[in-house]
């Protein structure tokens, strides 16, 4: 989003009031946490996916998770590039300024841009194995993801949305990339949970985001960090995540089919 210089940006250092109301808020959150502890760790949140909704982009997709994460993604391609060589995939990831639950991040701030660039690099790593770049020499494929609301598992939802958008744009792909996020709460012997909500993710001791190409059973991205454990822990988390990806795959395929049917039935204006 371009910076609007006419708007007053407010003081340089602004802090949200929730930081100072920590004592009262923590009691409420503890109650929420206790209630959420009864959640089944393998349960997937409801997923809504729709492809082909933006008229200006060649391909687009919108993914919404039950916890409130909303991602809108648009794809263009292929366009001629000046550099010779195989095709390149250019990814962009943007957060809306009101997306996070905490303080409003100023749109041009360096920290925001760093986080966005890191997420864009992760998105590119997840999508590159899925796209047949060899079929587009000297071309540039562009994908742009916009996070409207962060309710947890934002990067995973962005990966799914970006893959859907590319497929909707007609780019040749080996398979759809499905993203899934996991986290482990700070309690000592806690188990991994699929698709955490935002408070769970914030308090988590370890996080993991996966992207899988389900039909080929190939993992296209792994990004995780946090309090360590033996490899068996992480292997168990990976297996849970892969299972989650497989379960989400039919929903995404169905949305692509519906978009194609919609495009065929409405004549081009």
């Amino acid at each position: 989003m371009p910076l609007d210089h006419r708007r007053l940006r407010g003081p340089e250092e602004s802090q949200p009031p929730t930081l100072w109301a920590a004592a009262a808020a923590e009691d409420e959150e503890d109650e929420e946490g206790a209630g959420a502890a009864a959640r089944d760790p393998c349960a997937l949140r409801p997923l809504f996916a729709r492809a082909g909704l933006l008229s200006q982009a060649q391909g687009s997709a919108y993914v919404e998770l039950g916890s409130g994460t909303k991602v809108l993604c648009a794809a263009w391609g292929p366009r001629e590039a000046a550099e010779p060589g195989p095709g390149r995939l250019i990814c962009e990831f943007r957060r809306a300024p009101f997306a996070g639950r905490g303080a409003r991040g100023r749109p041009g701030a360096a920290a925001e841009r760093e986080a966005e660039r890191e997420a864009a690099a992760a998105l590119r790593e997840a999508l590159e194995p899925a796209v047949r770049l060899g079929r587009y020499p000297r071309a540039r494929l562009a994908v742009s993801a916009l996070l409207l609301q962060d309710g947890g598992s934002a990067l995973a939802a962005a990966v799914s949305a970006a893959a859907l958008a590319l497929a909707d744009a007609g780019v040749e792909m080996y398979d759809l990339a499905v993203g899934c996020a996991l986290c482990r709460p700070p309690a000592p012997a806690a188990s991994w949970m699929l698709q955490p909500a935002e408070p769970e993710e914030r308090r988590a001791a370890a996080r993991l985001t996966l992207a899988l190409l389900p039909a080929l059973n190939q993992v296209s991205a792994v990004l995780g960090g946090g309090r360590g454990g033996p490899p068996e822990d992480w292997a168990q988390a990976l297996r849970l995540g892969l299972d989650g990806c497989h379960r989400q795959y039919p929903v995404l395929r169905q949305s692509l089919l519906r978009a194609a049917q919609r495009r065929r039935s409405t004549p081009p204006s």
């Binding site: 802090q15 930081l19 060589g85 760093e114 660039r117 890191e118 690099a121 790593e125 590159e128 194995p129 899925a130 993991l208 190409l213 080929l216 059973n217 190939q218 993992v219 296209s220 991205a221 792994v222 990004l223 995780g224 960090g225 946090g226 309090r227 360590g228 454990g229 033996p230 490899p231 822990d233 992480w234 292997a235 990976l238 297996r239 892969l242």
Partner: protein, 339 residues
Amino acid sequence: MEGGQEGGQEGWMDGRRAGRRAGRMDGRQEGRKAGRKRALRRCGREAAGMASVVLSEAEKLYIVHGVQEDLRVDGRGCEDYRCAEVETDVVSNTSGSARVKLGETDILVGIKAEMGTPKLEKPDEGYLEFFVDCSSNSPELEGRGGEELGTDIANTLYRVFSCENSVDLKSLCINPKEHCWVLYVDVLLLECGGNIFDAISIAVKAALFNTRIPKVRVLEDEEGTKEIELSDDPYDCIRLSVDEVPCIVTLSKIGYRHVVDATLQEEACSLASLLISVTSKGAITSMRKVGKGSLDPESIFEMMETGQRVGKSLHIALQKILDEEENLGTSRPKVGFLG
């Protein structure tokens, strides 16, 4: 420098199995040279953000076939590191510094401890800031390319150290909410010879071991103004405990097997790598897949096991070298930078 060289030659991670396979290696090398003269097709410049190397199809095939039989171009096995030299306290203006040469990769890390204000969310802890500079490397890493690689490495380091107990941040606090020590870790990539993440993490751990933070006392006046007093004794300082600091192990997938510590040529043959950070106790603290290819879930499980095994032995060897260097103390002979 001698201390570091002794450590290197004492053969930690010295993976030369030259004696056993010398005969076969010579024959292969001759055939390889002839093949290179006959048909040198430029195939697939792997410019994956790192210094690229040009390999012909025949050379790639040679490397891939060798790795299938657990035999790499320089005679190492799949899980062996190159000969490495580690030296600490090379730059005198810093609070801690280290230089690591892993084969051809050369890394210099300098840590400066400065006073700053703690972050809002963690008012009673200090923090670390990473900055990586790759521009002195090769022409294609100057400008944008070097900056992207630098931010990539810095983000990886942030993620590796995001685990709460890797560095004891509470010991870096002077006054909660007001003053704390900020450790600025500056990494310079002097030469890229493959496997830079591993070398950088070894150098950062060695530099953190070497860091000496001066002890300060906070004096409070009657009006409440706080004054910070540095102790007079220059040797009176805080040392950091590096027992929980993780090291990164990069496992590159070549063909059906994975190798540790890939050279530039081997990196050009591998489509996907897994970066794992392992602590000395064998706990994995972060994972990341890099590269354009995808990985089979079974390979990922195998790579994690290998990474844990290799990481543990890496930590043991590194700690031994660091302790030896520490015990040499002031009697360590100082050799010039290129010594």
